[in-house]
């Protein structure tokens, strides 16, 4: 079937054309799409590095890449995926597009700062790509000193500058969201009526605003050490080798929550819509986001249990790390309870959301092994860690991101994608993911350290399994890329509300007009009021 262009109304995509109308736009929806294109490109770069790593590790001798090249691949993978994909993915793409629409606003509070944040991101991304193509960086995304400050001969400085710059893009986005959520809610949209997506982005924005400057300071200190030999981190110059790790994880642990909290927000939207129920325990789910954001700042020391930090510090960080697990557990229980007596559809976004709950549950529970001191000593620095955080970051964040893209794609593009392919892709990704990362739990328990370019023979079988899974996962990611692009031209028109969803963003045409709403909506009910009388099915 071939459907004509959607010309029935003027919307944000057809209001004007040409490259300038995109590069100078201040429309939050267009900026969201600029981010979508950029983070997708960076995902492909980071994914390519992962492909090379998994190919290398099929054989214990690791003959494909030189060890030095392998080290640059895992560094590239980590830096690109974390700073340029996972951190911006949900907030800067979906958040940008949806935060104003969900609260009934015309745009974010500072539209030009919003555009600036994309340019700042772009500069950071380009500098990183230059650094990668120009010899690469081999410190891992963690930049541990004194290796990064004194010993590495790679482009540490350039990548450090790139990460420093990109951080400001996060800060600007966070600032924009906080002000927008405080000041621009539609009449009647009280805090207790906000969609949980908004609560999650609010909590995330707080972390971005408060945590990212610490990363910036840390990177400046690293640069000072590298250029001027300031003697901050290298003991040979009178510095403290562990100081860097304290500063780095003070940002980078909360950064984990920057990556997962928005995903939790997405899942709350999907679960409610596709079971046609209000969320079970709205207040508990909303406040657990804030609890995670606050506690997340107090657990950085659990990355350092084996550094020789005081055993008493270890005890406190261990206790706090167990504590931060509880709000996450509460969320999982509440999402599950939301399904009870629902009217559950099995559309593609729902499959991603259910996949998220399952994988996030396993990722969260395996985190207990690492909060627990005695087991962390054995598992720290092994593939167990790698498996654990991929269950959270890939099984959690990317599943939710894809679920969100599938859910709001009809709103973004005005078109529907082929549902069967979408469900098939969700299944392939779920299977490929588990095949890739489950064996890594076993590898870690057996003692295989991470970041090894070659390894003893006994670890081969599990590595081959993991690499095989990665190829399935790669296919799984390629399928949506194809049919979503296809749907832009050939997909049937979606209409304003194809899922029968409740949020304000569904009360306006798809794609929405530039000003989002023809008239400012007035909110008279709580979020997810699926049982209310005016519930309209499309």
């Amino acid at each position: 079937m071939h459907y004509p262009r959607i010309e029935s109304h003027v919307h944000y995509l057809n209001v004007n054309y040409g490259i300038r109308s995109w590069l100078f736009t201040t429309d939050h929806k267009r900026i969201g799409l600029l981010y979508l294109a950029s983070v997708t490109f960076m995902f492909l770069v980071g994914g390519l590095a992962a492909v090379l790593m998994r190919l290398q590790l099929v054989e214990p001798q690791g003959t494909l890449l030189e060890p030095d090249t392998f080290n640059k691949m895992f560094s590239t993978h980590g830096i690109v995926m974390i700073f340029f994909f996972l951190i911006p993915a949900i907030p800067a793409v979906l958040g940008n597009f949806l935060v104003p629409m969900m609260i009934g606003a015309r745009d974010l509070a500072f539209p030009r700062i919003n555009l600036l944040s994309w340019y700042v991101y772009l500069v950071g991304a380009i500098l990183t790509l230059i650094a990668i193509l120009n010899g690469g960086v081999d410190t891992g995304w963690t930049f541990y000193t004194p290796y990064s400050s004194t010993y590495s001969n790679s482009n540490v400085l350039l990548v450090g500058i790139a990460a420093f710059i990109t951080g400001f893009s996060s800060i600007l986005t966070g600032l924009n969201f906080i002000v927008t959520i405080h000041k621009m809610r539609a009449p009647g949209l009280t805090w207790s009526r906000l969609p949980l997506f908004i609560w999650a982005h609010y909590a995330t924005s707080l972390i971005m605003l408060l945590g990212t400057p610490v990363l910036a300071i840390t990177l400046v200190l690293l640069a000072l050490e590298r250029i001027l030999h300031a003697g901050i981190f290298d003991p040979k110059l009178g510095g403290d080798p562990l100081l860097f790790q304290h500063l780095f994880w003070f940002y980078s642990h909360p950064a984990v929550y920057i990556m997962i909290l928005p995903a939790m927000g997405v899942v709350s939207e999907l679960i409610t819509c596709f079971s046609r129920k209000r969320i079970f325990g709205y207040k508990v789910v909303a406040f657990s986001s804030l609890a995670i954001a606050v506690l997340g700042f107090l657990v950085w020391g659990h990355h350092m249990f084996v550094t020789g930090q005081s055993v008493y510090a270890g005890l406190i960080f261990s206790a706090l790390s167990f504590l931060v697990a509880i709000p996450s557990a509460i969320k999982v229980f509440n999402w599950t309870a939301t399904l009870y007596k629902g009217s559950i559809s099995h559309d593609a976004p729902m499959l991603y959301a259910l996949g998220f709950i399952g994988l996030f549950t396993m990722g969260g529970l395996t985190g207990l092994f690492l909060a627990s001191l005695a087991t962390d000593v054995h598992l720290n620095g092994t593939y167990f860690i790698v498996a654990h955080f991929h269950y959270i970051m890939v099984g959690g964040t990317i599943m939710a991101y894809l679920g969100g893209i599938h859910f709001w794609w009809p709103k973004i593009s005005g078109r529907l994608y082929p549902d069967k392919w979408a469900r098939f892709a969700a299944l392939v990704i779920f299977i490929g993911f588990n095949l890739t990362f489950f064996p890594q739990f076993l590898l870690g328990y057996l003692g295989m350290p991470r970041r090894y370019a070659f390894y003893p023979q006994e670890f081969q079988v599990l590595n081959v399994l993991s690499s095989a899974g990665a190829s399935v996962l790669g296919v799984g990611y390629a399928i949506p890329l194809i049919y979503l692009i296809w749907s832009l031209r050939y997909g049937p028109p979606a209409g304003p509300n194809p899922w029968g969803a409740k949020g304000l963003e569904w009360q306006t045409p798809s794609p929405p007009p530039t000003e989002n709403f023809e008239e400012t909506p007035i909110v008279t009910e709580e979020a997810y009021a699926y049982a209310s009388e005016d519930h309209e099915l499309v």
Partner: protein, 327 residues
Amino acid sequence: MWPKIPFQPDQASTVARDVDQIYLFLTGVTVFFSVIIFAAIFYFVVKYRRRSEHEKPPEIEGSLTLEVTWTVVPALITVVVFVWSSSVYFHNARPPRSSMEIFAIGKQWMWQLQHPEGPREINELHVPVNVPIQITMTSEDVIHDFYIPAFRVKKDVLPGRYTSIWFQATKTGEYHFFCAQYCGAEHAGMIGRVHVMEPADYAAWLAGGNRGETMEKRAETIEKRGENLFTRLGCNMCHAPDGKGRGPSLVKVFGKRVKLNNGRTVTADEAYLRASILTPYKEVVAGYAPQMPTFQGQVSEEQVLQLIAYIKSLGAEQQSSTGSKQP
């Protein structure tokens, strides 16, 4: 033929069993909760699948009882794991007094291990079974990490500091040790083997009977080397044993509380001794002038360890504690 997939690493130290019990318990917790969640999702998704577009599910706001239950139950489980795991960790943080002490130096990209009796090994470590062994470690360059999976022990090896691990092997055999902190190009090659031997075999090995090729010829004890160095560097000129020299006597100084001329009191542990050799002007013993020259750049980390071993051999107040010691 399908190769065997291993699921459990060798369990070859007294600590390993304790750690594995916690690991097993946590695995049980993970499986239990995953199964509950998976089963509930699966059941709900099938049972409450949408049968008509006009279904109106009932309004359910939440339940305080349920919220409290699924807050308190996980909280209690984490408290149990926290207390249990921390007590194992605490126990493992303190090496027994009777431990045999081995020194290790990590450098890009090899391990150098020094036995008290003198033999020095590269990427190999021979130890007797059923004897507590403490390894005191430092790095010559970047951060490394000494990890023996079969013993479930691991600790970062830091430049400018001493850290230590201890273990008591329970099974003879050969086990891997790894560098578990990324340290540069050949990080993956920074691995070696622990050879756990019967005490008699170990004694024979020490005597030079069946040493590997990486071994040097029968060497002097580490204390003896330290003593020679002590004399060669002229330390004995000032640090006279009777305390009448220009520097304090070092007899029985190890482990003692030492009063400094800035009013502070420190314990004379490995880190303090190392700092006193490399940056002697920073922490001067009360009653003495800051006149000792620095030996920074003149002695290697290995020689510092020899000097410390010699000073320890002059008698000690007590065993040092573990954990990171900042110079």
